[in-house]
């Protein structure tokens, strides 16, 4: 990687990677690995996300010659989400891993990864509870709805990028997002006592 200058921007890195430069591609991996891993982790809900992320980067390197411009992030996330869909389909065929987060999962039981140096134990506990509530509610959505809400609301992609990543028309993404949000809102009401006060949803009947 030493041969790659720091001034090399994303377009140049992509072009170099298209020419077979693995170091250039690895620079892109370092830029996007947190995003790719988080999308896979939210979609799959467990540590299978690690394999899914690695496989996605391998697949991306193999097919980078087919990248024709546009958002590299969206293109990469399409590969990640497709890989996760494959994994979810495999689980449906051979149901051995629960789709809901496993309470025994070390990342659920030990929220040390959530720790922020400036946070006290109270904030850490709050964030862990918030995370549990979100992950449980996400896991109850169908994968396509889950992916839409993860990309737009959790990862902050715009509609166009999400549509590209999901390979769906903009209208479909809008519609899925709206329905996913409504269902998430319904689910999160069940965790109202776990949510910080400012996030408590109005549970009163009209």
């Amino acid at each position: 990687m030493e041969g790659i200058g720091l001034s090399m921007d994303e377009v140049q890195l992509i072009q170099a990677a298209q020419g077979g430069d693995l170091d250039a591609f690895n620079r892109l991996v370092l830029t996007y690995q947190n995003l790719a891993f988080n999308v896979a982790w939210r979609l799959l809900g467990d540590d299978a996300a690690e394999d899914a992320t690695q496989d996605a980067f391998i697949a991306a390197y193999r097919s980078i010659h087919r990248f024709r411009g546009g958002s590299f992030k969206a293109w990469l996330l399409r590969i990640v989400t497709n890989g996760c869909y494959d994994e979810l389909r495999r689980r449906q065929r051979r149901p051995q891993t629960p789709l809901e987060p496993d309470p025994a999962d070390e990342n659920q039981a030990d929220p040390s990864w959530l720790a922020d140096p400036g946070e006290g134990p109270q904030e850490l506990a709050e964030r862990a509870e918030l995370n549990t509530a979100i992950q449980r509610c996400l896991s109850q959505l169908e994968p396509e709805f889950r992916a839409a809400v993860i990309l737009v609301d959790v990862q902050g992609l715009d509609y166009g990028e999400a549509a590209h990543a999901l390979k769906r028309p903009l209208g479909t993404v809008k519609s899925r997002l709206a329905r996913a949000r409504a269902r998430l809102q319904n689910c999160l009401q069940g965790f109202a006592e776990l949510l910080p006060d400012r996030f408590r949803l109005n549970m009163q009947e009209p």
């Binding site: 693995l22 790719a36 390197y61 051979r94 995370n131 979100i134 519609s175 949000r181 998430l184 109005n202």
Partner: protein
């Protein structure tokens, strides 16, 4: 509350929240919200849900996902073995279809040729034989018939001997008929074995 809204209103509110409505629809929706408290409350709840999702903790990638040539090589080997098996299975199946079609064709051709030959062989004998001779042969007494057969037998044996000495000309139809069953069985076995191996490889990977 968004769950109780008509799907169209829900989609509009969701898109409005993300600034995805055009000016006309935005104005219409804002006017409706002024007079419809349920719609306004639903927007508030959707906003809270989105705020919760945006607060979802992000995990750091548990390791670097950078690629090495060895990783790519190992993956290539697996993928190419799987692809090769699929290719073998597909080619064997295509060849099986070709051989089977050839078998049908050869059967059909030889059947037509055989019926044409028997008609051609029978017709001249019947047509060219003079009527008296026919009658004579029909009325030949057993003792004369025995003499005639005794003379004809060495001649027939001689023809058969000469025919055996001369190699028969190559006939594709006969060749196909002779080897079609064997080829069909072989190809069927190859196609089935390759498909089974490919399936097992994929199954094990899953």
């Amino acid at each position: 509350m968004p769950n109780r809204l008509p799907a169209r209103d829900l989609e509009q509110l969701s898109a409005y929240m993300d600034g995805q409505l055009d000016l006309r629809r935005r104005t219409e929706l804002e006017a409706r919200m002024k007079t419809d408290p349920i719609l306004a409350a639903a927007l508030g709840e959707l906003r809270t849900t989105q705020a919760i999702l945006r607060r979802a903790p992000q995990r750091r990638a548990p390791r670097n996902f950078t690629l090495s040539p060895a990783m790519l090589g190992a993956k290539t080997q697996t993928i190419s073995a799987w692809n090769n098996l699929r290719l073998v299975s597909a080619v064997a199946t295509i060849l099986l279809v070709v051989v089977f079609a050839g078998d049908l064709w050869a059967n059909n051709q030889l059947g037509l040729a055989a019926s044409a030959t028997s008609v051609a062989e029978e017709a001249p004998q019947t047509l060219m034989m003079p009527e008296p001779a026919m009658k004579e042969s029909e009325t030949t007494t057993p003792e004369f018939a025995g003499d005639a057969a005794g003379e004809a037998q060495p001649f027939a044996l001689e023809i058969e001997r000469v025919a055996q000495e001369q190699p028969a000309p190559f006939d594709l139809r006969v060749f196909i008929l002779d080897y079609a069953r064997l080829l069909e069985l072989g190809l069927m076995a190859i196609a089935a074995a390759a498909a089974l191996l490919a399936w097992r490889r994929r199954h094990n990977k899953a």
